[in-house]
């Protein structure tokens, strides 16, 4: 318990005394927000996992792509 408290205060003090770190955390937060929310949601939301419900369907889709005749 003492160790956990020490760790808690360690991080709390660390974050409270940030100077340059504050700017960096802001940039990090905005960057992650854009990546995870905007890009993932609007451009990369569809994957084989979201499009198909099981591995058989996923395999079938890829096999279809791999073996289809070239037009």
């Amino acid at each position: 318990m003492r160790l956990l408290l020490w760790v808690f205060h360690f991080y709390k003090d660390g974050f409270m005394h940030l100077s340059l770190g504050k700017t960096l955390w802001k940039i990090l937060f905005v960057k992650l927000l854009i990546m995870v929310v905007v890009f993932k949601l609007f451009f990369f939301s569809t994957t084989l996992n979201t499009r198909f419900s099981n591995d058989d369907e996923r395999s079938d889709f890829v096999l279809e792509n791999l073996t289809k005749e070239k037009k």
Binding site: F10, F15, G21, W25, I27, K31, M35, L48, V62, L66
Partner: protein
Amino acid sequence: MNELASVDWSRAQFALTAIYHFLFVPLTLGLSFIIAIMETIYVATNDHAWKKITQFWMGLFAINFAIGVATGLIMEFEFGTNWANYAWFVGDIFGAPLAIEGILAFFMESTFFAVMFFGWNKVGPKFHLLSTWLVAVGSNLSAFWILVANGWMQYPIGMHFNPASARNEMENFFDVVFSPVAIAKFLHTVSSGYVIGALFVIGISAWFLLKNREVLFAKRSLVVGASFGLLTSLFLTISGDESAYQVAQHQPVKLAAMEGLYKGESRAGIIAFGILNPDKRLGDDAHEFLGDIELPYMLSLLGYRNVDAFVGGLEDLVYGNAAHGLPSAQERIDSGKIALKALSDFRAAKAQNDTEAMKTHEAILQAHMKDFGYGYFEKPEQIVPPIALSFYSFHIMVSLGMWFIVLFALMLFFTLKRDVQTQKPLLYAALWSIPLGYIAAEAGWIVAEVGRQPWAIQDLMPTHMAATHLGSGNIALSFSLFALLFTALLIAEIKIMLKQIAIGPNGGH
């Protein structure tokens, strides 16, 4: 958007993401070890000037880390949406190293990162030092797992293709992890990061000396940076030699493109400098170069450890050379088409639950699996990567690598034996070599990735077959948004860094 445009946009998007991501990564890899060395000197000597030096470089490391971290995440999104065929086909072989990277190395790095920055007055100096070293080791371990995955794409081993699931299944984890290509790639890539870290340190130290500021700090940083840079740039040459050797063994077309070698020869020389003839085509009699300087025997020696060895040229590898046991690409295309037909037949047999036929077709498939990807080509010439881009990127990388050795040696000599502050041209050269380090590293990636085209997975999956755009979003639009985001991040990094450098080591953090 037609299929071709979709593939091209996917490729452009991945290239953009990888190039930007790799602007941030090498400095993290290199600077982390330089900081650990500086802090080791501080702990060993208890000289507080070294603590200030360590903290200054640690601040710049933090800026680079914070802005660069997670830029690689986008590539994982791209795998899922733009490269679904590829992501499925590679199976757990690609997933396992990436998962290990995420869980183990990144966790270790992030945990000790907090101690490194918050712990100066909270933990003992030796524990703090240990944390700094572990951040360096953790960063490099992350790179290891990524490069294992990349090494497998260049030289796929340790797996078995399952035609029922269309996935490659790992047969031997250690074959994948200790693949000679992966190890060579790891050592060469991380050592390029060490050189960039060293260039960064000596370049900024040179700037302080040119400004006649923080002279003691700058000279001490120079000694560490130049020593580390000299050792690692020499190691970079050795790891580069091993990397090229592996390319010669497993990706001979890439080697021929890197050297602009159209006709194979024994006792082949290496091109030290050359201007490619833009009108040269495979099979014609035009000379490969408008002008070149060649070092005799060196390509045979470097590629095969034997000055008499025959090095296959593009024409030998495309049209075949029976005398040297090189099959033509057409033979491999024919074999690949048999593999593709067998996969198709296996699928049809599976649909009819005909187990005997499935066994027969799988046996045919496995017998031709090594040529599987060739089945997607119609003409032998399609196996040739962009020659000019591979050739010039390779030669720019090597030339800059040689320059860095000279630069580090001179900086170390003048710092230790003379008054380096009076060597203005050398200080300017060090300063302007910072961007050159990045150019060399990016050129290296271009050699590795463009040079292996047309393959996403060597011999098994061409890039155009790897791409599958599942998303409804417009790739051109997301490409532009990426370009905007990454450029904004890069500008932010440069601005914050310049501000922090101008404040100097005594400005606090």
